[in-house]
C-alpha cells in the first residue's frame, strides 16, 4: 500500500495547471494567491495572461481544508454543529440551521412555532450581515473603500444583536437539533425593529454611493456573464443563480421553518446596465435580497408566538434510527444541504455538505477566460465565495 501523496510531494510543475512549454510567445503565468489581498481568504488562482488579458484561469483549492466531513464521522451530532458554523464563517446561523434541520428530519422531530420563528429571525439577520460583508468587500475589490466600512458599520450592529442573543459574535452554535440554544431576551425584537428602521435608508445610500456609480457599473456590468443555461448547467444556487435571471429560491420552492407564511419577493437580475447575468446583476440581487430580508424580519417579529419553550423538543441524546436524509436550506450564499447517513449510533456514519461556494467556484474558469486581470478580482467577488466553505 502506498501512502497518499501530499501536496508538498508534487513535482514543481505538477502544482501548476499550465506548463511553461505550452505558453505562446507573449503569454505569462501569473500566480494569484494564496496570499493575495482580494482572493477572499486563501484561494489560489493560476492565470495564463497575455498582457492584461487573461487567456485561461485555473483555481486551486484546498488551502483551507479542515477535514469537516471526516471529522463529523467521529463526533456526536451535537458536537458537529460548532464545526458546521466554521464552514461558511460569515454565515454561521445559516449553516447550523441547515444541519439542525437535517438532524431533525432524521430524528423525526417537529419543532414548535416559536423555534421556527426565532430561526427565521436569526437566519434573515445573518443573511443581512453576510450580504453586507459580501457587498462591502466587493466594493473594496473594485477599489471603493468607503462602502466597505459603511457596510461593516451595519454588520457590527447585527453581530451585537447576536451577541446579546447567544453570547457569540461570529460562530454561534445557536441552532440545535430540536431547538435553539437560547430564548430571545426581553426587548430583543424591539431592538431588531430599531435596527431595521435605521438600516433601510442605508441600502438606498449604498445604491447611490456604489451601485449606480458610473465607474462601478462600467467595471462590473459587462464582465463575468453567466447565461441562464450555463448557470443551470453548473448547478449554481443562491444569488449567483438569481443574478442570471432565474427565479429559484429554496425558501419559496421547498419551504422550511415556515417560510411559506411570509410574503417576500425573489429578486432576479434584470441586466439593467449590460447583459443579464453579469457581476453587477449578482451584486444587485444581493442588495435587493437584503431589502426582502428586512421585509421578512418585520413579518417574523409580528408573527412571533409570545410563548413557547425553545428547548421543548431538544432530545436528551441524539440517537437517530438507521437511515439517511438530505436537507437543504437557503443559506446566504445559496443552497446549503447536508446529507447524513446514520447507522443507528450516537455518531453519524457519513456527513456530506453540499456547499454553494464550491459549486460557484467551479464555474470560474468558464467565465474568466478572455477577461482582464482586474476583472478576475471582480468576478471572484461577485461569486461571493468563502474559502472555508469551498474547502470544508
Amino acid at each position: 500500500m502506498s501512502t497518499p501523496r501530499q501536496y508538498k510531494d508534487l513535482e514543481p510543475d505538477e502544482a501548476y495547471a499550465f506548463k511553461l512549454e505550452d505558453l505562446e510567445e507573449d503569454e505569462m503565468i501569473l500566480n494569484m494567491g494564496p496570499q493575495h489581498p482580494s482572493t477572499h481568504g486563501v484561494l489560489r488562482i493560476e492565470l495564463k495572461t497575455d498582457g492584461e488579458i487573461v487567456k485561461d484561469a485555473q483555481p486551486h483549492i484546498g488551502y483551507l481544508h479542515r477535514n469537516f466531513e471526516k471529522h463529523a464521522e467521529n463526533i456526536d451530532y451535537q458536537g458537529i454543529i460548532p464545526f458546521t458554523d466554521r464552514l461558511d464563517y460569515v454565515g454561521s446561523m445559516g449553516n447550523s440551521l441547515s444541519f439542525a434541520f437535517a438532524g431533525e428530519k432524521l430524528m423525526g422531530i417537529e419543532v414548535n412555532e416559536r423555534v421556527q420563528s426565532i430561526r427565521v429571525l436569526t437566519a434573515e439577520l445573518q443573511r443581512i450581515a453576510s450580504h453586507l460583508l459580501a457587498l462591502g468587500t466587493y466594493g473594496l475589490d473594485i477599489g471603493a473603500f468607503t462602502p466597505f466600512l459603511h457596510a461593516f458599520r451595519e454588520r457590527e450592529k447585527v453581530l451585537d444583536l447576536f451577541e446579546w442573543l447567544c453570547g457569540a459574535r461570529l460562530l454561534y452554535n445557536f441552532n440545535w437539533i430540536g431547538g435553539v440554544s437560547h430564548d430571545l431576551p426581553d426587548q430583543w425584537t424591539d431592538r431588531v425593529k430599531v435596527f431595521l428602521d435605521q438600516f433601510e435608508p442605508v441600502i438606498d445610500e449604498l445604491h447611490n454611493l456604489l451601485s449606480y456609480n458610473k465607474i462601478f457599473t462600467k467595471r462590473t456590468a459587462s464582465i463575468g456573464i453567466i447565461p441562464p443555461e450555463l448557470a443551470i448547467g453548473y448547478a449554481l444556487t443562491g444569488p449567483n443563480l438569481r443574478g442570471s435571471g432565474i427565479k429559484w429560491d429554496t425558501r419559496k420552492e421547498d419551504p422550511y421553518c415556515g417560510y411559506e407564511k411570509y410574503a417576500f419577493d425573489v429578486p432576479v437580475g434584470q441586466g439593467r446596465f449590460g447583459p443579464i447575468g453579469s457581476c453587477w446583476d449578482r451584486y444587485y440581487v444581493r442588495v435587493e435580497e437584503m431589502r426582502q430580508s428586512v421585509r421578512i424580519l418585520r413579518q417574523a417579529i409580528e408573527k412571533l408566538p409570545p410563548e413557547g419553550d425553545v428547548h421543548e423538543t431538544v432530545p436528551k441524546r441524539v440517537k437517530p434510527k438507521p437511515g439517511e436524509v438530505y436537507a437543504r436550506t437557503e443559506a446566504p450564499r445559496g443552497e446549503l444541504g447536508f446529507y447524513i447517513v446514520s447507522d443507528g449510533g450516537l455518531i453519524p456514519m457519513r456527513v456530506k455538505a453540499r456547499s454553494p461556494c464550491f459549486v460557484a467556484m467551479s464555474i470560474f474558469r468558464e467565465i474568466a477566460k478572455g477577461e482582464m486581470i482586474a476583472d478576475m478580482v471582480a468576478i471572484i467577488g461577485s461569486l461571493d465565495i468563502v474559502v472555508g466553505e469551498i474547502d470544508r
Binding site: M28, L30, N31, H36, P37, S38, E52, G139, L140, D141, I142, G143, A144, F145, T146, L149, H150, R153, L209, L210, N213, I215, F216, K218, R219, M372, I373, A374, D375, M376, V377
Partner: protein, 379 residues
C-alpha cells in the same frame, strides 16, 4: 479589568504633540511672512557677497526651503488624509499617538526608517536602488518653477510651463524602473500600467495647459499669475471664471488628468491593491518604500499647485495675496483629491485609456480651440 494603556505613555505623546502643532502653526506664520523674510535674506546676501555668489546662495536657500517643505509636508498630508478617510467612513482614524494622532506619521516614518531594507533575490540591485530616487527627483525638481509670491520662485523660467510638462513625466521612468527591477510579475504589471497611463495623460494635460497659455500669451508661470490679478475681489480675473465657462471644463479636465498623473484613485491602477497587491512597489520596504510615498504626496501637492497657478490665480488670491493664500488654495485642491479618492471605485486599465483618448483629449481640444477663437476675436 483588562489591559490599560499606560498613563505615562499617553501623557508623553500628548506633550510631544504640542511642539508639532505649534510647528504647524508656525509654518503658517512663516508662509504669511515669506515675502518679507525672503527680502531680508536677499538684502543680507547682496550686502555681504558678490552678486553671483549672492544669487547662488539665494537659490541654495530657496532649494533647501522647498526640499524641507516637501519632505515635511507628507507628514501632515498623510495624517490629514487618514483623518479624512476615517471621518468619511464614520471612524475616528489615528487617535493614540499624540493629540488626535498628530504624531502618527512620525511614528510610521520612524518605523519605516528602522525597518530592514529588503532587496528581493533576483532583483536588479542597481536599478532597484536607483528607482525610488528617480521618482522623488522628478517630483522635487518640478517644484523649482512653482511661484510662491511675486518674485519668490527658485527659477523664474521663461518656459516654465514646458518645464512642468517635461519634468512631471520624469517619474514614469522611475516607476517603470522599479517595476522592472523588482523581478516580480505584479511589480512589472504595475510599472507597465503606470507608463501607459502617464504617457496617455500627458497629452490632455499639455493641451489644457496650452489653452491657458493661449489666453495669456506667455509660458512663464509668473506671467500667467499676473494675467489673473485684479478685478472684483481679486478673483474675478481668475481663468476659471473667464471665457464663459470654457475654462471650468478645462479646470475639471486638468484636475482629472492630475489625478491620473499622480496615480490617485480612481486612477491608482499602477498600485491597485486589490489587483496587483501593491503594484510597482510590491517588493519595496523600509525607507525606499517611504520615498515612493513621499513622491506620491509631493506630486499631489505639485499638481494641485499647478492647477491653482493656471486656473485659480496662484498666489494672488481673493482679498489677500501671498504664499499663505497660495498654500491654502493648494490644500483645498488636495482635499478634493482625497475626497474623491475615498468616494470612487477604481477604473479598469482599458477604461482609463478610453477615458483619456475618447473623452479627455476631445474635450481638451475643444477647450483649446475655444480659447484660441476667443483670443483671436479679442474676447
Amino acid at each position: 479589568m483588562g489591559l490599560q494603556r499606560p498613563a505615562l505613555e499617553a501623557k508623553i505623546s500628548n506633550l510631544l504633540s504640542i511642539p508639532v502643532v505649534a510647528g504647524a502653526a508656525g509654518a503658517l506664520v512663516v508662509f504669511a511672512l515669506l515675502p518679507q523674510i525672503a527680502e531680508l535674506i536677499r538684502e543680507q546676501l547682496s550686502a555681504n557677497l558678490s552678486p553671483t555668489m549672492a544669487k547662488l546662495a539665494a537659490t541654495a536657500i530657496g532649494v533647501g526651503a522647498v526640499v524641507f517643505l516637501i519632505t515635511q509636508l507628507p507628514i501632515f498630508l498623510i495624517w490629514w488624509e487618514r483623518k479624512i478617510a476615517a471621518h468619511i467612513q464614520d471612524r475616528l482614524g489615528p487617535m493614540r499617538v499624540g493629540w488626535h494622532g498628530v504624531l502618527q506619521s512620525f511614528a510610521d516614518g520612524m518605523k519605516l526608517l528602522f525597518k530592514e531594507d529588503i532587496i528581493a533575490d533576483g532583483a536588479d540591485r542597481f536599478l532597484f536602488k536607483l528607482a525610488p530616487f528617480l521618482v522623488v527627483m522628478g517630483v522635487f525638481s518640478a517644484f523649482a518653477v512653482l511661484p510662491w509670491a511675486d518674485g519668490l520662485v527658485i527659477s523664474d523660467l521663461n518656459i516654465g510651463v514646458l518645464y512642468v510638462i517635461a519634468i512631471t513625466s520624469f517619474g514614469a521612468i522611475g516607476i517603470l524602473m522599479a517595476g522592472w527591477a523588482s523581478n516580480n510579475k505584479y511589480a512589472l504589471y504595475g510599472g507597465m500600467r503606470s507608463a501607459a497611463q502617464m504617457v496617455s495623460y500627458e497629452i490632455p494635460t499639455a493641451i489644457i495647459i496650452l489653452s491657458v497659455v493661449v489666453q495669456v500669451g506667455s509660458l512663464n508661470l509668473q506671467d500667467i499669475i499676473a494675467a489673473q490679478q485684479g478685478g472684483f475681489g481679486d478673483f474675478q480675473n481668475w481663468f476659471i471664471f473667464r471665457a464663459w465657462g470654457l475654462n471650468v471644463i478645462g479646470f475639471v479636465s486638468f484636475f482629472i488628468c492630475g489625478l491620473a498623473e499622480t496615480n490617485r484613485n480612481p486612477f491608482d491602477i499602477p498600485e491597485a491593491e486589490s489587483e496587483l497587491v501593491a503594484g510597482y512597489h510590491t517588493e519595496y520596504s523600509g525607507m525606499r518604500f517611504a520615498l515612493f510615498f513621499l513622491a506620491e504626496y509631493g506630486a499631489m501637492f505639485f499638481v494641485a499647485g499647478v492647477a491653482v497657478v493656471l486656473f485659480l490665480g496662484g498666489w494672488s488670491g481673493p482679498v489677500f495675496s501671498g504664499p499663505l493664500v497660495f498654500f491654502l488654495k493648494i490644500l483645498a485642491i488636495v482635499f478634493v483629491q482625497m475626497w474623491i479618492r475615498w468616494t470612487l471605485p477604481r477604473l479598469r486599465v482599458d477604461q482609463m485609456m478610453a477615458l483619456c483618448w475618447k473623452y479627455l483629449i476631445p474635450i481638451a481640444f475643444v477647450v483649446l480651440m475655444g480659447a484660441a477663437v476667443l483670443q483671436v476675436s479679442g474676447g
